[in-house]
Amino acid sequence: MLSNKTVGASLAIVASTALIAGCDGWMGERGGEVDITAMTAEEYAEYLVLETDSYSFEQEAQEGGSARDRMVQDGIQAACSLEGEPDADTAGEVIAMARESYEEPPGGPRLGNWRRGAELARSGYGYRIGHRNDDHGTREPGGNCYACHQMDPAEELYGTLGPSLAGYGATRGTDSSVVNYVHQVVSNPHQYFPCTKMPRFGHNNFLTEEQIAHVMAYLLDPESPVNQ
């Protein structure tokens, strides 16, 4: 929680500096009203993101709220804004935040339909905003698992940012302990991998619980091509 406080404090400093400047455009425009060099790099970056009209913040985000909400960091995003691996203290804080914010689906994690999971794993559609907006009314958002992971060994187009998941369920089975663990990782992976690159598909409501159940079936179902 330390990192949360730190970020909160820098935001307060940035906000007061903006008041001094009279909120009149971004400071570089008039020159010298605010001493940029008196800010830390973190304060200046936060100022650039939130106070300089650099983003189309007024746009609606598909998950509700505005584009601005996307760029305001939560505790895990702030703590993991670092190069390389987190130190032990940060890792511990991130794991604690992830555990605290993890939500089990009603009735507990379950496996859905692996065929639906295969479609979701391949689809990179959804939640993009800016010069072009993904329309969830015409097309369902996907999980884009193949962007980073190998899954079905027969699929040739897969990314390597994450570990290979080929045969993932074949060696692990479908006991409730396995199903519970996989749900925790897909929903909020920082519980086990603090500051992982992997999105929090459940916590961020990027995938619905039903979609997560399908993706989990694709990963664990003995019938799924991932496990052949």
Binding site: G32, V49, D53, S54, S56, R70, M71, L157, L161, P199
Partner: protein, 281 residues
Amino acid sequence: MFKKALLALPVAMAVGAAAQAGEWQDPNDVLQNLLQNNPDSAYLHQSEMNIMMMPDNPALWLIDEGEELFYAERGPNNVSLEGCDFGKGPGELEGAYVELPRYFEDTGKVMDFEMRLVHCMKELQGFTSDDPAVARRHGNGSDIMQLTTYIAHQSSGMAWNPPLDHPEEQAMRDAGEVLFFRRGGAMDFNCASCHGDSGKQIRASVLPEMRNGQEWTKAVSWPAHRAGHDNVRSQNHRIRGCVWQMRHAGIKADTPVNTALISFWNDAARGEPAVLPDLKR
């Protein structure tokens, strides 16, 4: 047509094959040196087709058009862009592109290349934000991309060397580094999610590593003909595409978040020769 542009450059520049900072080199020679020096870089070697096509890079066709636009008397004020100072003096283009962003006294702020070009088109030539000359930022047919390709080409083979002497230049670069690692958006990504390691792939695309200078110089060498788009693209267009895929908020043109990111990008490629224009997948 582009041969004319090449011949128009001083002969000493065109024959300079040695990889020396400050000397103009044909973009294909720059690329060949990078490939030779980095036989194990999966990023640099990923597209045999593009490497083969490089001498006939379609981006080269924009150079002549950009040159004509640069020297033409245009806009409501009917003047050329020869009065535009990209940091090396009015109309001095040689080496200017690789020494941006920089602090400009006349505007009192750090400006990246496109921001500066637009500033000159408005202030000198009298174009307004709504004029297509300024409003259209992307595509081979846009004035901005033709001018960008012509001007950037005058720095091909020269080492990235954005100045950091002015405190605002240093502050902008440092903020850009923070932004590179700042996680956000619906997928919790930062730039390093994809550019933190060498040889990683997103689907079929091999990604450049930011801390690997010889990969990174090619990565930030825009303008480049992007084969998949069949158009020449800019650094700003690359940023736009990245933040869109990252599910961040969209960044507007001519804004300081762009400038900060480009300040850091170009600094991360410091000392490495620029490939201008490049050809990308």
